[in-house]
Subunit: 285 residues, 2 copies
């Protein structure tokens, strides 16, 4: 049981965790903090949090765990606002989609990474965002990736792990660089491609026809282009190096495939498609 949990950024991610913990009766008191009064008020109305404040110092007073669920670009300023008010035993964790940049922000603010800081990333989301989109079972059956550092305290890790398990998630561990490269490939790159595809189609001659005749495949493929633009801007800025690496690899693969189409290389196309199909069929259920 967590006595007092403070959530910075009560949107889809923070709000869904709050709902899950409340439903499991695992948290006595949840405090929300952000800069948007209307969102915080709505979060109380929806029963997502018990109390809200605009004052970071007040928010962290007496907190057992502080969760940073703001877009990664805002993590540093939140850390600066709470730095001088944290109690020594308070555990801090985050939910950011990139981990090297979060660790760098912590280092910049604290001079080192405190042993009570647990870098974490829940692999779950929805197309909708904001506290209205929060649901108690968002993390059910999903993974949360922990990226502990050498000095991360075992007690802090265990407490944050327990919290996510109560919310229905399983916890796995990667190191920071691995995390950023794996997520760049499986999540960040596909989002960039989906945004780019929709923008490409929007700029062509037959926009109306294109969306009128779009089949189910396109619907699935472009779904992630409806994700929160602010969050994804921040991800692109914060995990820039790994995304650019994955993107370059993709561009070069695509260029090779394009050449096969250009020269009508029937065998080459068949091999490429068979390879992709066999890889996906064997890895994704």
């Amino acid at each position: 049981m967590i006595k007092r949990l403070t959530i910075f950024g009560v949107g889809l991610i923070g709000g869904s965790l709050a709902l899950a913990l409340k439903q499991a009766n695992y948290c006595r008191h949840i405090v929300g903090c952000s800069r948007q009064v209307d969102h915080l008020q709505r979060a109380v109305e929806l029963g997502v949090i018990d109390e809200w404040t605009l004052d970071p110092a007040e928010a962290v007073a007496g907190a057992e765990i502080v969760l940073l669920a703001v877009p990664v670009g805002a993590i540093r300023s939140v850390l600066e606002s709470i730095k001088d008010h944290l109690e020594p035993q308070t555990i801090i964790t985050d939910a950011g989609s990139s981990k090297a940049s979060v660790v760098a922000a912590v280092q910049a603010v604290f001079g080192n990474v405190p042993e009570n800081f647990v870098p974490a990333h829940p692999i779950a989301g929805r197309e909708k965002s904001g506290v209205e989109a929060a649901i108690a079972n968002l993390y059910h059956g999903h993974k949360v990736i922990f990226c502990p550092l050498e000095n991360t305290a075992t007690e802090a890790l265990d407490a944050v792990k327990k919290m996510w398990q109560i919310a229905g998630a399983t916890v796995e561990t990667l190191d920071v660089d691995q995390h950023d490269q794996v997520l760049a490939a499986t999540s960040h790159l596909p989002h960039v491609l989906a945004y780019s595809l929709v923008n490409t189609l929007a700029g062509t001659d037959y926009v109306e026809e294109i969306f009128r005749f779009a089949a189910g495949g396109f619907r699935d493929f472009s779904r992630i282009a409806s994700s929160d633009p602010v969050m994804w801007r921040d991800v692109c800025l914060e995990n820039r190096a790994a995304i650019l690496r994955a993107l370059s690899e993709f561009q070069s693969n695509l260029e090779q495939l394009k050449t096969k189409i250009e020269i009508s290389d029937a065998d080459g196309l068949l091999q490429a498609f068979q390879h992709a199909k066999s890889i996906r069929d064997s890895h994704v259920r």
Copy 2:
């Protein structure tokens, strides 16, 4: 009521239409023709067709409508085999995913496009293929795109339209180039991107982690990479020009987005993502 319908290629597409017409009691006699005796026999056993033959001349004798439901790459050779045996009033139509290549095949065989030829493309499919996968409601609520030419006879159009409507589809019209460009953008390009993405990921350092931590977004995004490689090879060859145009536009859009990431253009990224989200949200339910 169609007195006699002849279907070349009794697989998922042709077989499903046959089942729908039989269920609606809209076709007195359906003849199947292909080169695969076992498939044709199975089609009779399943009640999809009434009769089969390996002889194209026999197949088209007395036919009111001839449907070409073979892969687009095989349409020309079927036309050559029936050319000298068609009765003047027989209507011919097809179900190919690309239309310029089909029209070119017709022109090459007949010297011109007969007024009784109706180029058509049902926008429906399943992951499974073959006559065993045929279902009577495949076209229910789906669109069939007609690409009539200037000389296409109204009576032929009406007869084929009625047939698809009986099968539950709605008929819409595009010109040949429009069709090929729209399908290249909404269906063919996304397939190429999905195949390329999966192959890119398969070539990176953390393949196991990549597929282990792949989230729902990736699953959706890459689903179409599990499609039939032979069919998609043919589509790439037959709708080459339109696919290459769409692909080039995509590459240039992606390159611009990459530059924004490289120079950390926060505003530019946000605008691009907001634009894509608003386009998709307003066009796709």
